[in-house]
């Protein structure tokens, strides 16, 4: 997918919302959707949506709208969801297990192919048909199973070490749930999922209402 000079971070963050809305529209049997209708469903202005989409190409038909299937395919392609990434979760606590059980992962093109933990009582158990392996085998298994995305759901204190091990084993993307500042090389992508930020801002808005 060719992309013009520079896409704004805000635009990229909205793409998954477009994808989801298009999937819903598709499920409803809609053939065509306008930026107006899409905007209504997402509380985003239609101008914004058109602007975002045209940074990647001309997907619409003037006077008509966007073909749902076609646009969904394009957005999916832009997001790289067609790649079928192999993924591993490190840290099979409550959150790790919750993520392992998400059926949506597969629908979005992410294939959970390994689970890792350090605790002997967890190693060998099975979550959602995937067996938990010893963290010591991470390098070997990441290679073997061609794992490109690592999900970190260990306590903050171990997060950097886990990231380092995943990366040296070949992982190119890290989805980090540990509340810690992480360092990764330039050729590795990281997204920090800092859920308590959300709860704190909720509290802020409740106080300052």
């Amino acid at each position: 997918m060719k992309v013009q000079a520079s896409i704004s971070k805000a635009t990229i963050d909205r793409l998954p919302l477009y994808f989801r809305a298009l999937r819903n529209a598709q499920e409803e049997g809609l053939d065509i959707i306008s930026s107006d209708e899409l905007g209504r469903r997402l509380s985003i202005t239609p101008e914004q949506i058109r602007k975002d989409l045209t940074s990647f190409g001309q997907f619409g038909k003037k006077g008509v709208g966007y073909y749902v299937n076609e646009l969904k395919k394009n957005v999916s392609n832009i997001l790289g969801l067609d790649n079928h990434w192999n993924m591993a979760i490190v840290g099979v606590g409550h959150l790790g297990a919750a993520l392992a059980n998400y059926q949506n992962l597969g629908m979005l093109g992410f294939q959970l192919v390994a689970l890792f933990d350090r605790k002997p009582e967890v190693i060998g158990t099975t979550v959602n048909h995937v067996q938990v392996e010893d963290m010591e085998r991470v390098s070997e298994i990441v290679h073997e199973r061609n794992i490109k995305i690592g999900v970190i759901t260990v306590p903050a204190a171990f997060a950097q070490d886990v990231a380092d091990r995943l990366i040296s084993a070949g992982v190119k993307g890290i989805w980090n749930f540990a509340p810690a500042k992480m360092c990764v090389p330039d050729d590795v992508c990281i997204v920090n999922e800092d859920i308590f930020t959300g709860l704190s801002t909720l509290s802020y808005h409740m106080v300052h209402m």
Copy 2:
């Protein structure tokens, strides 16, 4: 806490990061921290940090820096973390249970006082010392236990209904994990925690590297 005309959304989103960094600094026994050091730890420019903080007051000492304890107390107060909000989680699936088990909630001033579910096999069980109640009793219990924050971890299709019930029972803040567009009245705050957005943008960055 008095606040000037309008605080930028970006500023508010950074406050929880400041809070966390200050808590860490406090644990390390640091008395004073400069915007420079704070910035280094968070990968945020010191100018940005000073600008953010001064929208709420003058917390620093010129030529010296910020007193860690004092600034942490101020940021905590700004975020409303001193309020000790009572909180309920609706939907005790994997994610709901994972959140219920987070010890950090209490540390941040959020008190988990109720769990709700619809499934008979889940009702009556206990997660982290809190018993799961029948969703039918939500109105009654939200009143009784003075619950102000509701956490929604049910499937998308039920999320709006759950929100409506929580709100009519008196909840003023919603922390929503369901991937659905929600409608709430003006006097209710909502934060949507859309975790698959993060995974999708990770995929985007991996493809467009």
